[in-house]
Amino acid sequence: MEQVCSVADDISKLVADTHIRIEVADTIELIDEVRVDLLGRKGKLNEISKQFGKLSPEERAHLGKTLNAAKQDLESKIDAKKGALELRALEARLNGEWIDLTEPAPGPRPGSLHPVTQVQRELEQLFTSLGFAVLDGPEVELEQYNFDKLNIPADHPARDMQDTFWLKDGRLLRTHTSPVQIRGLETLRPPLKMIAPGRVFRNEEVDASHEHTFYQIEGMMVDRDVSVAHLIYFMKTFLSAVFRRDVTVRLRPGFFPFVEPGFELDIRCLICGGSGCAVCKHSGWVELCPCGLVHPEVLRAGGADPEVWSGFAFGLGLTRLAMMRYGIDDIRLFMSGDLRFLRQF
């Protein structure tokens, strides 16, 4: 009986002592020590169980249960304490890792594309979605392609309207993107739909609204029985996409040698809605682009038979469109290379 009491006492004392040690342990090392002391090969629980040899089977069974219960209780308390200590250590570490996120980020600031490129890209994607090919043409052109094949022969008054940069070798800098109509007809062959964005040149004095180097985008669709009705539908559709809202357009007669009939296309002023303002010079309409049905001579010059094929064509001022889109009032900024301007886009 004495032995039983002593073993039972040992167990109780171990539990009480260990509870205190657990409570007092305030580092992970200390709580680990408590565990090792208790549960290790040479730990206290093993020591006590060695005493079981002296006990009767009934006593062993009874104290065995008590010892087990004590072991589970202490283990769970050790685990809990360790968990708490680990949590506290983690919180302390995290707390010390404050970073000032308002600090400027290292590395270069984001770059940007030129505003004309942005508008151009948008138009290219729009037209590609409508089934148009995007073509390039040379900036240095032959007189044939810039004038003659577009039904603008020598001595034609239209040549006056296009102040041309002539080159010493007889070629010229293209005055519009229209030459690519002919090149497109020659390479793609009808039926076709194409646009041709690009840089064009006019020998004009530079001021806030005139430049000698600027950008246009040419468009053309050639198929069988293409009509004025198709042209109007088309212009309305893509202009509404360009201006991101429903636009009202009107066509009035315009003279261009490479189209017949030829039109000036106006859009109802987006600023005043048509009631009249400074932007539309109080007319309610803004002149936007020339367009028309492709002149049979142009089709012939591109190798297409005008009795079989017909088409429409239009020319948009890309630089002008960018000025309208972003509210830029000085055309010279586009070629200035000034980052104070370019970084805004």
Binding site: G111, L113, T128, D169, A229, L251, F255, P261, L339
Partner: protein, 663 residues
Amino acid sequence: MKFSYNWLRELVDGMDTPPEELMRLITLKTAECDRMENAGADRIIEVDNKSLTHRPDLWGHHGMAREVAAITKHKLRDPVPAEPLPTAASPVRVTVEDFALCPRYSALVFENVTVKPSPLWLQYRLESIGLNAINNVVDVTNFVMAELAQPMHAFDAEELRGSEIIVRNARAGEKLAALNGETYELDSSNLVIADPECAIALAGVIGGAGSAISGSTTRIVLESACFNASSVRRTSSRLKLRTDASMRFEKSQDPVNTVRGLKRALALLEEVSPGIRLAGGLADSYREPAARPPIELPLNWLDRKLGGAVPVSEVRAILESLEFTVEEIAIRLFSVRVPSWRATKDVTIKDDLVEEIGRMIGYDNIVPTAPLAPARVPPSNPEREFHHHVREMAAAQGFTEVFNYSFVSEDQARAFGLDPARLVEVLNPIASDQNFLRASLLPGIWRNIRDNAKHFDSFRLFEIGREIHPEQEVPHFVAAIYAKDDGPNPGKAGLLELKRLAECLLPNVSVRRSKARGYEHPQRSADLYHCEALAGRLFEFHPSMVETGRAAVLDLDLTQIFNFQRDTPRYQSLRRFPTSAFDITVAVPARTSIGEVQDAIPLRPEILSIEFLREFALPDSRRSLSYRVTAGASDRTLSSEETGAIRSAVIEALTARGFESRS
């Protein structure tokens, strides 16, 4: 050109459309009206000349009135009297040397002329549309021009020598003192009106001062002629002299108008110069143009062109209101005769008739229709797409896109190593220092760096543009990084960032040192190669080119780079057996490059990769470079002996090159 609303009303019976509405209708159907001004009880409509270039008939009120009559469906009144001019011989003989340059020359001689101010109604008419009233005779010529688009000129007959008028080419060096006070030196490309002794007027442009109408004039020769458009245009532009007359003749006027003009002038002169008499009859030297065949207009074709059906009666009504004559020669087939004033150049093919009908119907009345076409995938433009990809890549790495002009000066060209003899030269440059086309984007980028350095301490910019060479245009990508002060190793970061950009576009790019050009830092320039093909250049600007700070530049030939883009990669199965790696370190002499050492490591199939790890500075300015070599085989794990053998071989090769192994 200015049009008086009241004058138009007088020429269109019953027209009562208010001026604003009339202006709107003219804009929609005929020509662009810019603005309207008040002029007492009248309104003056200003039409943009550019919208009249193809309409010689609209340079006078009668022609515009015809449009107004057609638009408002009223009747046009003809102010020209119906009675023919007397057929008696004219006291003046007219000789036209070349009818190609002067299809018709008509003239009347008047005597008992009294030159004095015109009546107020006539002065007012002229002044209201921007013409100056001078005296009754000159005013009548201007009035007829403003009404019928027929320029006329009055000579003081007493100042003419002989009784012959000759229309001929000027002789080289011939001079003419003109009405505007200037004296012009002419050549054979200029057509003149002359008497047997000398030139008296520049045909179709301006009269001579010698035969000008003055207060003492009592006899006049009144000219009403038609001159070749190109000839007048060339003379006008060469002598830099534009007049109301030359502007009209340039548009190819109808020769029928000369006699009409004289008839009108006769009636007006009788009114404004009381007692005036004709001397003799009409002098008229005329070569009639070849009859122009009628235009066949298939009505089904017309409907297809407009995109809507137009009633036959309406087609006829529109054409006839514009004085085309219409004959139905077969079912839904018209034969249309073009009136002479539209036939000089504007209406010649059936497509021109589409415009006549379309504009009169009003394009607003055409229902927009979607074109029906099979859905086709358009041909792609991979090179253009690639350029956009390059732009996006550059922007993503902090570069801002710029555009520069295509022009350079001779000095700029030389400064960047371009030989002006091999550049494309502009005949009529906008300025004397913009007379060559750029065969390099560098001058523009250099200017961008210089200008932006005034406002920013660091920046990155790029341009994609074409180098213009005599035989070809080559797209290039040029990027620059500028930093005023970037720390202990100035300029190095910029150069290596640009190299990284190049690697994004060309994964296998290799750098080879190259002799520096004049504008490059002598120790900081290299060519960029892809395999054995030259793809571009990387350099830092010579300090003489950059005032403060450093600028690094990358210049890539986009056509080359595009050709080197990767095809669709093919998957390679992952290694089944583990690889092993070892590091080696060598000490090399100063200025031996990392790449040179790496290239000295012999390639064997088991060497999978060689990676530069780090550099240590050595006290004697040699470099200590460390590399990691990864080795492996596809069919087995390499044994430690095999790996050891590879390592020894590598060290042996490096040592043989004179590099000291320090592993």
